[in-house]
């Protein structure tokens, strides 16, 4: 009998979608990078990332599954344009104990001929980090190798001020909770404004996730946010779909039309 966990730690059971992260300046939308988003075994409820990783966390199997995800993502990333940078979600617990993840990550990307400079690791934190010194050591080793660090879900849960100071990420990924509807909400505007100011002081950059309207995008731009990731810009989708729709061709210099999702197969964007 094969358990669900045994199935999941086999990278072949996982599939990968990519969602572009746009840099928007003066109305010009350029794809800066793509976030790799894992989907669980097809035709099961665990295909949805939020369900899959809820289970993984209950099993306390984050480290094993994160490795499996890296393998699946690197396989998919080999087919991306060679300049395209890739964001990968990694649980803090994977980095903060002596799992050997950093060595594994370096070795695996090298075997796949993928430059480390192409990667940003997004730290996902659902439980208090117990071994901060080990986490920091891992992050320093990654950063020294050219990997960028992002703090995911900023504003929620354990992605707090302490993590900002301890991890010194290059990117703060502001959770969609604070972004969705920002155009009409003075309190959300205040949150975004304060984070942009903080990021400036800490030499980090804010990435706003989950804007739900053009008004949100405009207001975010006014507030000084230039990096945005949202379904209304482009939903997560399999690489073949991104390629078929031409999103990755000349991505560095093209305008991505608003409502680019029209007619696309939607993937559920449920980041872990």
């Amino acid at each position: 009998m094969t358990s669900l966990l045994e199935t999941i730690v086999d990278p072949r059971a996982l599939s990968v979608c990519f969602q572009p992260i746009f840099e928007i300046r003066d109305g010009v939308r350029l794809i800066d990078s793509v976030e790799a988003l894992i989907r669980g075994p097809r035709s099961t409820k665990f295909n949805r990332a939020d369900i899959l990783f809820d289970y993984v966390r209950r099993k306390r199997a984050e480290a094993a599954v994160d490795r499996s995800c890296v393998v699946a993502i690197c396989n998919a990333a080999q087919l991306l344009p060679s300049h395209m940078r890739v964001n990968i979600n990694v649980h803090a617990v994977t980095l903060d104990h002596r799992s050997g993840f950093v060595e594994f990550f370096k070795r695996h990307t090298k075997e796949r001929s993928l430059r480390l400079e192409r990667f940003t690791l997004e730290i996902v934190e659902h439980a208090p980090t117990s071994n901060v010194p080990q986490l920091i050591d891992s992050l320093v080793a990654l950063r020294d190798s050219g990997v960028r660090i992002a703090l995911d879900d900023v504003g929620l849960g354990q992605s707090n001020y302490r993590m900002m100071l301890d991890c010194h990420p290059q990117y703060f990924k502001l959770d969609a909770y604070f972004v969705r509807g920002v155009a009409q909400d003075a309190k959300r505007i205040a949150v975004v404004r304060s984070l942009v100011a903080l990021a400036g002081t800490l030499e980090s950059t804010v990435v706003a996730e989950g804007a739900s309207s053009e008004d949100d995008l405009s207001r975010l731009a006014e507030l000084g946010v230039t990096f945005m990731q949202a379904n209304i810009l482009c939903p997560a989708m399999p690489l073949e779909e991104l390629q078929r729709l031409g999103h990755l061709e000349g991505a560095q210099a093209s305008h991505a039309p608003s409502g680019a999702a029209v007619g696309m197969e939607m993937c559920v964007v449920a980041q872990h």
Partner: protein, 134 residues
């Protein structure tokens, strides 16, 4: 589709079956699906907990002994009751120990069936609980 398998809104009633015996799970799933229920299966506690966190189930059917080490079914019952009072719980057990049965009952089990349960008995228990719920 059997009328009994539909909620008042016309949606198929959702059932979660938890058992570490893959063959039994498969048989229960097939039988209850044929009766018009929407059936999910889990083979371990954590898998069940995740499904319960995301989906509302009208009936949860759980084996009392989920691993060879522990009576994980009791944890399932407690977990269901922490999540909702709406779901009905059927406990499958090969054990006749009255103290276990009484603990399961105190934890919120609605009905007990002796393992291996006959498919018709299982279907009747589900129909009865869903009928009672409606």
């Amino acid at each position: 589709m059997w009328l009994a398998a539909c909620s008042p809104a016309g949606m198929a009633e959702k059932i979660l079956i938890i058992d570490d015996d893959e063959q039994l799970l498969s048989a229960y799933r097939e039988y209850l699906s044929e009766r018009g229920y929407e059936v999910d299966c889990a083979q371990e506690l954590e898998e069940a907990q995740t499904l319960l966190a995301f989906f509302p189930y009208s009936v949860v059917i759980t084996d009392l002994r989920l691993s060879k080490l522990a009576f994980g079914g009791l944890d399932v019952i407690k977990h269901v009751r922490e999540q909702t009072l709406q779901s009905r719980v059927i406990v499958l057990t090969g054990y006749g120990w009255p103290e276990l049965k009484s603990e399961a009952s105190a934890s919120g089990a609605d009905t007990f069936l002796q393992k291996p349960a006959r498919l018709t008995d299982l279907g009747a228990a589900v129909d009865m609980l869903i009928g009672a719920k409606a």
